[in-house]
């Protein structure tokens, strides 16, 4: 499919939204621009998790581990004076991947519920280290004062408006990268493993190796969102490893529909909007969110569009 085809046919609807999001900052106040930046970052995080959950059938419950590692790396590098964005984000991705490489060795042996338990436990080990190693991570007070990076070409990312377009660009790059990765022979193999590991073994695929490499890819892409978040908020602390973060990413997949290209982004959009707008209306926003999550899972357990999909085939 040549590039031209991408913006025809099935991609008409998303490209309409792309244009809309470009005009967005001129229609809304800075607060909503900030919200959409958060949506982009969370969408990248959810997409990275979907490599595992949607495509390989590995339900990781500790995905915040790689997000947090890249976040702290960004924090330390920035406070040490490293201003260049590309250097920091590559290091963040590297560290995310490295952590995933180490955790993958421990987790990939297990299956299903045990895999969930181990990935959750591993992410909490990092939370414990970040919380307790005060001399380095400053514990719960975290690392404040992380300035916006430089990306060369003379663009200053301090105002949220520029950071908005920058994050949108990174989001598109990740979207295309994942589109290619998940439609490559490697991507097909992951989905084969999701459907039946024994059949893939019989065909001659080294199933463990593919799961392991998939796990590392998920860590690398999660590293991007971890670094971006710390640059956006200017702050990192143990909560970047939080259980709630890993679970929220899973909810985004369930809500938006895992295993699809735009599912994670839709889920991210809905959940980030829900959290921020609901808290604007009622003080009991956490109660409302809890009820919404339960209802959503009860009704659309295969994602919000599964209701339509079920109708189609």
């Amino acid at each position: 499919m040549k590039v031209a085809e991408i913006f025809k046919g099935p991609f008409l609807l998303p490209s309409f939204f792309a244009v809309l999001t470009i005009l967005f900052p001129f229609l809304f106040s800075n607060y909503y621009v900030g919200l959409v930046i958060q949506i982009f970052i969370m969408a990248i995080f959810a997409m990275s998790l979907d490599i595992l959950v949607g495509h390989t059938g590995l339900p990781s419950m500790g995905h915040a581990a790689y997000y947090g590692v890249a976040g702290y790396a960004t924090g330390f590098l920035c406070l040490a004076g490293v201003k260049n964005f590309w250097l920091v984000v590559v290091l963040g991705m590297g560290l995310g991947g490295l952590t995933a490489a180490f955790f993958g060795l421990l987790a990939i042996r297990a299956r299903g519920p045990y895999f969930m338990l181990i990935t959750l436990a591993l992410s909490q080990v990092l939370w414990g280290i970040a919380f307790k190693w005060r001399s380095v991570t400053k514990g719960d007070d975290g690392l404040p004062g992380i300035g916006r990076p430089e990306i060369g070409m003379g663009i200053d990312l301090k105002p949220d408006l520029y950071f908005y377009y920058f994050t949108f660009a990174i989001f598109l790059i990740v979207l295309v990268a994942l589109f290619i990765l998940l439609n490559s022979p490697f991507g097909y193999t992951l989905r084969g493993i999701r459907e039946s590991e024994s059949r893939m073994k019989a065909l001659g695929y080294n199933v463990w190796l593919y799961k392991y490499v998939g796990f590392i890819f998920a860590g690398i892409f999660a590293g991007i969102s971890g670094a971006l978040w710390v640059y956006y908020s200017g702050f990192v602390n143990p909560s970047n490893f939080g259980v709630d973060l890993s679970v929220k990413a899973l909810l985004m997949l369930i809500l938006g529909g895992s295993g699809s290209l735009f599912g994670p982004s839709i889920g991210a959009g809905i959940i980030v909007l829900l959290e921020n707008l609901v808290s604007g209306f009622t003080e009991r926003w956490s109660l409302v969110l809890g009820i919404v999550y339960v209802t959503v899972i009860m009704l659309f357990s295969e994602g919000i569009f599964s209701v339509f999909k079920r109708g189609r085939n």
Binding site: L106, A107, R109, R111, G112, Y114, I129, D244, I254, G290
Partner: protein, 286 residues
Amino acid sequence: MAFWIIQILNGLSFSMLLFLVAAGFTLIFGLMKIINIAHGSFYLLSAYIGLTVLRATENFLLATIASSIAVVLVGIAMQSLFLRRFYMKELQQVLLTFGFVLIIADLCLWIWGGNPMALPKPSLFRGSIWIGSVVFPSYRLFVILVGVIIAVGLWIFQEKTKFGAIVRAGVDDEEMLRGSGINIQMVFVGVFGLGALLAGIGGMIGGPFVGVFPGVDISMLLLALVVVIIGGVGSLRGAFVGSLFVGLTDNFGKALFPELSLFTLFAPMAIILAIRPTGIFGKIEE
């Protein structure tokens, strides 16, 4: 010398509390293969209800009964009305329990407010006793006693009773159990209720010294997770050994090298995860 006795007793009292919370968590995971994120919420709810009843009646036993009944009902309702629909779908069940964490936590915040509170101790155990030259609160001995009694009770339940045998069979091979004609959903409701009861009693026992405050649900969940990973997933024996290990290490860690204390909890967990992912007594699920 008294220093060591005090520290061991401190550690033991915390271990028993951890056992109560971890035992329920590991039973639910062992049989139903789901990580019950809302397990800490049973602790939270039970402690708050217990506090209200205690303020009204000053009777610790009555408060424990009331809070336990409430928590068991919540547990059974959660399992039979919601989790049951997603049988064999672990991911959806776990995310459902996360929704319940938010609901229960915010309801408690709404009703009891955000100020951390401690349950008054039962009148019998308000004083302190002398051990050698140092004073030790008698309530903590009570906690150790309750923990041991419940541990023995659970052991008898698991080894000797029919329902206990069914649960053990389920933990070992749930498909086979289903095949043998036993109504698996009833077993799940029973186990979930039992898990809630244990965490609820933990809430009452922990109320006076750990206290109850927004956020205690997640910290209790994490502690249960550490205990279960170290002791072994799905086994009561593992939960007991794990809680002893965690309770004592945490206590001695804080006493001897405080700046590393939380880390002394997570380091052993990481090591055990590396060597044997399902813990000392857990079953390797390849």
